[in-house]
């Protein structure tokens, strides 16, 4: 057991918690370690985050191992209980509980730590720790968690000499040297974007942020700010590099990893992008579809055009009107000429619509539709009653039911009456008595037949009217009424036909029923006949027999008679 150091050699395997107490209490050897990134934990009371972790060496006879404790736990000592412990595990120290008291805490703590240090390379699990400890599992758990968090157990120090660090527990590191950012939790370099929080001075890469690997209980996702790191500006490809690239592609074909290795200076995406951008690149191998993240396709000219177009479109596309945005989008896609012609056609159609209003029925129905669906209200002065509940007729002519039948109403300041034939208001002088139709119309009806269409058209055209729509109105309404009558006629025709059909059908049905009955009866009759048949046969037989018998009787009788005759003759002869 050669041991150079003056300290007493402790046994590598600690049996009871009391032993290491005596031995390690004597050792607190501080060594200045090599350069390593800083270590910090914000809520440490005393030591601030400056240089380096501490090393406490505990040479043992067989194997010398060093136990490394992070700087923020430098307050730890075997004999004493530090303020930190008192603060963070108050239940052991407030005297409220008899099982949890300072001595039991110390026992547990020292036991756990010495158990860990007996095998510093392997991680001490909670279950293993509690096995050899006397006490309730809750207390053991608390002490264990505390020690693990503070790196007094299960703590492996960072490897020295590397940029990236292996973080365990609550360690966070940030490398400020180059512009490169390193994630504090996983140690990977953050290239695209990273999330920083000022609260804990941490930087997380996108993966860790998504995984919510915050390393600190108090943080939430809201604390993190996103920092987009620009891609490093790539210097232009030199000819040499391009040559290398082409050679590599010739050699390896589509294996981009090997190509990248060959070219040596560029990441994979760069190689691919450059290759695709080469003017004659398509000659060798077709344009690759694997590379994503690059919207540029083909040559640079089209790129430019597209980008310019996009720029030009942007004012339209930004319009708050979504329809306009869509139109802009569609026109961009379709091309300028097509868009132009389409627009022109649309405009002309719209204008034609306006021009064809008077003669075109379809447009008229549109108008009627408009009339129907615009908020209708009665046109009588002072009556603005809503006509939504009235019939179409009332709605169309903008008069409520009451006023259509009223004898006098005020429209536009003049006394008028609604004429049911013309479907409009006339001055009161146009009406005779209390008639509901104006004089003109009645005359036409009575003397010139029922459908005075053209006359009404003429009269309406010749009579003075205020607006075009008022002139056209009776024409339109007449035509509408014609339509309606036609429809009614058709309807009545169809009704009649329907009824006749029904009649025929019912007759058919009744005949069928009769047929069925007849068939049934026939069957019955046949059945009866069948029944009777044997009887008939029997009777016939009987008769036949009787006849036979009668003949027999007759023959015997004849025989008898003949014999009688013979006897008689005989006797007479004798006599």
């Amino acid at each position: 057991m050669a041991d150079p150091s003056p300290q007493p050699p402790p046994s590598a395997s600690t049996q009871s918690p009391l032993q290491p107490l005596q031995q390690l209490a004597a050792l607190t050897e501080l060594e200045t370690p090599s350069v390593a990134p800083s270590v910090s934990k914000p809520d440490t009371p005393g030591p601030t985050a400056t240089a380096t972790p501490e090393l406490i060496s505990a040479p043992s006879p067989a194997v010398s191992y060093t136990v490394i404790v992070p700087r923020f736990s430098a307050w730890f000592s075997w004999d004493e209980i530090h303020d930190t412990e008192r603060r963070l595990l108050p239940e052991f120290f407030d005297g409220k509980s008899t099982s949890r008291n300072p001595s039991s805490y110390k026992y547990l703590r020292n036991a756990i730590i010495s158990k860990f240090r007996s095998q510093p390379t392997s991680k001490l699990s909670y279950t293993e720790a509690r096995r050899g400890l006397v006490g309730d599992v809750g207390s053991v758990r608390k002490v264990f968690d505390f020690l693990e968090e503070w790196g007094l157990i299960n703590y492996t120090p960072p490897k020295k000499g590397k940029e990236e660090t292996e973080a365990r527990g609550a360690l966070g590191k940030k490398d400020d040297s180059s512009g490169k950012r390193i994630c504090t939790s996983c140690g990977a370099g953050c290239s695209l974007q990273c999330f920083t929080t000022a609260k804990a001075n941490m930087t997380l890469c996108a993966k860790c942020f998504v995984k919510s690997n915050y390393q600190r209980p108090g943080l939430s996702s809201a604390d993190f700010k996103r920092v987009d790191l620009l891609e490093e500006p790539r210097p232009d490809w030199t000819d040499k590099e391009t040559l290398h690239l082409l050679e590599a592609i010739l050699h390896y074909g589509e294996d981009w990893k090997k190509v990248t290795e060959y070219v040596a200076s560029r990441p994979v995406k760069d190689c691919i992008a450059r290759f695709v951008k080469l003017p004659f690149g398509e000659q060798f191998i077709g344009p690759k579809e694997e590379h994503n993240g690059y919207t540029e396709q083909g040559g640079d000219d089209t790129d430019e055009n597209e980008s310019i177009k996009r720029r030009r479109l942007s004012p339209l596309a930004d319009a708050s009107n979504p329809i306009m945005a869509q139109v802009a989008f569609l026109s961009a896609i379709v091309g300028p000429h097509v868009a132009e012609t389409a627009a022109q056609a649309a405009v002309s159609a719209l204008s034609n619509l306006g021009a064809n209003e008077a003669t075109d029925l379809t447009t008229e129905t549109n108008e009627e539709h408009e009339k129907l669906y615009s908020t209708p209200c009665c046109s009588v002065d002072g009556c603005g009653s809503d006509l939504s509940n009235c019939r179409d007729y009332h709605r169309r002519h903008k008069v409520c039911e009451a006023h259509s039948k009223a004898s006098i109403v005020l429209v536009g300041g003049q006394e008028q009456r609604f004429c049911q034939q013309c479907s409009r208001f006339h001055l009161l002088s146009e009406f005779d008595g209390v008639k509901r139709s104006c004089r003109n119309r009645l005359d036409l009806l009575n003397f010139r037949g029922r459908r005075p269409q053209s006359e009404t058209v003429n009269t309406s055209l010749s009579s003075a009217s205020h607006r075009d729509s008022a002139v056209n109105e009776p024409v339109l309404s007449a035509e509408l009424e014609i339509e309606e009558e036609e429809r009614e006629l058709e309807k009545s025709f169809s009704d009649i036909i329907e009824f006749q059909m029904k009649e025929m059908q019912e007759k058919l049905v009744s005949f069928e029923e009769m047929d069925a009955i007849m068939a049934r009866e026939r069957l019955q009759v046949q059945y009866l006949r069948d029944l009777i048949l044997p009887d008939q046969l029997a009777i016939a037989q009987h008769q036949h027999r009787l006849a036979m018998m009668a003949r027999e009787n007759v023959s015997t009788w004849e025989k008898l008679r003949s014999t009688n005759d013979v006897i008689d003759r005989g006797t007479t002869l004798l006599l």
Binding site: K96, S97, S99, G138, R141
Partner: protein, 272 residues
């Protein structure tokens, strides 16, 4: 080793004599149910015993649980254990259920009365932890609410130079289990007394009372009443044996065979 057994007897018998002389009828203190150890009422440490056998994995464990701990600890404890021991995840629910069941059982006794008068109870230890077998019988004073099984266990192990650290907690849990048993029995005894109206005689004649009475018989008469009879010495001292692995193997086999036979008998009994 012998001294401890003798010493135990000494303390117990002197106290017993005192009390016996002081009052003919034992002073009965009716208190709320609790573990007769030194913790305060809310945070009794109760023994938890787990023995689960699923999917060809066997998990056997016994530990102390602080009743004061929040119930969330049950689940996290179960998860941690399953993770550490690499058991299949179905164990988590079984373990937590079992623990909660035992906790609830303990809590169900809470608030009921138990009569604890001076009872000196013999506790037995007969356990095997890894390679160490510990057998012991000693007397324990139930009415001593300052008693601490943990301390006893630690002292025992230290005195006997028990190498395996896992023995001490097993001893502590075993002691606690027996104390728990006795406490529950005293509660039921109270119920019986109330129902049967046996009067004071009823519970005095119960197990503990027998022991207390027997103590005087334990020790020799003729004045040297503090020393056990010689023939009882071997029984009452702790014995610690360290077995080799083979012996452990044979022991396990015997145990399992025995258990199987018991199960068979049980089944046949139930069927028949």
């Amino acid at each position: 080793m012998k001294s401890s057994s003798l010493a135990g007897a000494i303390g117990a018998s002197s106290r017993e004599r005192e009390r016996a002389s002081a009052s003919a009828s034992a002073s009965v203190s009716s208190i709320k149910f609790r573990m007769p150890t030194k913790e305060k009422e809310k945070e009794s440490l109760i023994p938890i015993h787990l023995d689960l056998d699923l999917d060809a994995h066997r998990y056997k464990d016994a530990f102390t649980w602080n009743l004061h701990d929040p119930d969330s600890l049950v689940l996290s404890f179960a998860k941690r254990t399953v993770k550490d021991l690499k058991l299949p995840p179905t164990f988590v629910s079984h373990i937590s259920q079992s623990i909660q069941h035992q906790l609830a059982e303990f809590r169900s006794f809470g608030g009921q009365d138990m009569f604890i008068h001076e009872k000196i109870v013999p506790l037995k230890l007969d356990l095997r932890v890894n390679n160490t077998v510990v057998r012991d019988t000693f007397l324990w004073d139930i009415s001593n609410f300052e008693s601490d099984p943990e301390e006893f266990a630690v002292t025992l192990c230290n005195d006997l130079d028990v190498a395996d650290p896992e023995v001490a907690p097993a001893i502590a849990v075993a002691i606690r289990e027996q104390l728990y048993e006795i406490a529950t029995q005293s509660v039921s005894a109270v119920k019986e007394a109330k129902l049967g109206k046996k009067g004071r005689r009823g519970y005095e004649l119960s197990k503990g009372g027998n022991n207390a009475l027997d103590v005087s018989r334990y020790f020799g008469s003729k004045g040297s009443g503090v020393i056990r009879k010689r023939k009882d010495w071997y029984m009452n001292g702790p014995t610690v044996d360290v077995l080799t692995n083979e012996e452990v193997g044979t022991l396990e086999e015997l145990n399992s065979r025995f258990r199987r036979k018991l199960d068979e008998k049980e089944d046949s009994f139930l069927q028949g």
